[in-house]
Assembly symmetry: C2
């Protein structure tokens, strides 16, 4: 083993320790891209500076380079930089301060409208777009694209934060963005230069044996033991971060308890119908 390999091994072990806290899987490689991926953290505080020229176009090129099912390209993205519009969108998304701070706020759309419009202009049927499958395909492809953009963001030394709360008020968001029928803002993404004075931490995740199955799914003692270990590791993390100490099981349980836990998203299916997605 040469010195570079040895250093890479040590760097990989350190990143994996941050991510898993004592349950490091047998990973022995590291390159610049893996370093970016494993170092991910959600950034909630940004410096008040513009992004370098060309950043948005670079992120969109990365996003469009992600796979697209049958090359249908059923997503779009709306880039928000005007402070007043950003503030109105932030108000619709739980008043999250980091949306206001971030110089760039991207709204990722499931966009079946483009294909629907092209078919309509050619007097052809686009019946398949009315099915649940087509909406799901759009949601998957928009997510693959956005994640490529996030990786690109982080490779450039910038930071990002997904904003699922944009789904709290989908009809109002659609109106703000002037969305046509069959277009839907799936999530937001705040992007900016992280404030080094308020650094974000890598959040520990469930041990691999809880989420990775070989050949078939299992739910048994191994998985329960992994979750118990994770609760303990998260308590350690919370103490370090001066966060309220609570089992992950309790935190997650509270988030899924009842319809009220969904912050208005319990009506999402009906609103999607109103936005032109039949979801058959």
């Amino acid at each position: 083993m040469n010195e570079i390999t040895s250093l890479a091994r040590a760097a990989a072990a350190k990143l994996l320790h941050q991510r898993y806290r004592g349950d490091v899987p047998g990973v022995a490689v590291l390159n610049e891209t893996l370093d970016v991926l494993l170092s991910h953290r959600s950034v909630r505080t940004y410096l008040p500076e513009k992004l370098p020229v060309g950043t948005l176009e670079t992120l969109v090129a990365a996003a469009q380079s992600a796979s697209s099912s049958s090359n249908l390209q059923v997503w779009s993205v709306v880039a928000i930089q005007e402070p007043a519009r950003k503030a109105r969108l932030a108000a619709l998304a739980g008043n999250q301060q980091h949306i206001l701070e971030a110089p760039l706020f991207l709204l990722w759309l499931v966009d079946l409208h483009r294909l629907a419009a092209l078919s309509k202009e050619r007097n052809e049927s686009a019946e398949a777009l009315g099915y649940f499958e087509s909406f799901l395909l759009g949601a998957v492809d928009a997510s693959l694209a956005a994640q490529n953009a996030v990786v690109a963001v982080e490779s450039l030394g910038l930071g990002a934060m997904y904003i699922g709360a944009i789904r709290n008020h989908p009809a109002e968001v659609a109106a703000e963005l002037n969305l046509p029928p069959q277009a839907f803002a799936l999530f937001g993404l705040a992007i900016g230069r992280p404030d080094p004075a308020r650094p974000a931490e890598v959040k520990p995740r469930l041990p691999q044996e809880v989420v990775l199955f070989k050949e078939q799914y299992e739910w048994g003692e191994r998985e329960r033991a992994g979750i118990a270990a994770y609760n303990e590791r998260m308590r350690g993390f919370q103490q370090e971060q001066n966060l309220p100490v609570q089992d992950w099981t309790d935190q997650a349980g509270a988030r899924i308890r009842n319809a009220a836990s969904l912050h208005g998203r319990d009506v999402l299916r009906d609103v999607l119908n109103q936005l032109g997605f039949a979801l058959r």
Copy 2:
């Protein structure tokens, strides 16, 4: 501008030309990670060799490093390496040869079962999981995770191919994987070492002005002109690749024409209900 910047600029321009074919956005940076992202191609031919030890664990670590909404971690992944099971799954997914060739086939699950089981064991309600929003959140987070795995795959010199056709027969796939209620195989991912004798090409995408909007959505002359330009560029690409020459507009239109275009996925919503997702 020093020499390294000049080289990076030229390399970026080349990658962007492959992706956009004459409509290169104003991107002036390139790093190793952007190189990986912009170079993506779907790999359909693999060498018959095992992946290096630790590859699967590296990919899962990258996947778990992606953002997770409220840290709920509502996805899992099943790694298939047994040839017989791979063959049965390939048969359910349109008999795609590359699934058989790939040494590793990953099934990415929307997994609400884990949280449902934890709540049940604690005699607590998990009512929110029955809503459409919870399924959608799982589909988004599974997609973000999988895309991180794809980027990791490609950074390691390996290749991958998403298999959406696994949704053609979701109930049979669930049975094969022994999935509990509220778990669903969203897509597959074939992974292996690309066969250099049968290289994959970078597929051109729509011009940025068609998918990227500033402040508000638009559907007008600029978008239509971009689509016309794309049809022409795709014809050039198809001719180069000895593929049937057909406008993208026609190809996409055929894919969305009617329920039969969905290859059985027109019943997906009903099957999801049967698999335990209420989708309220």
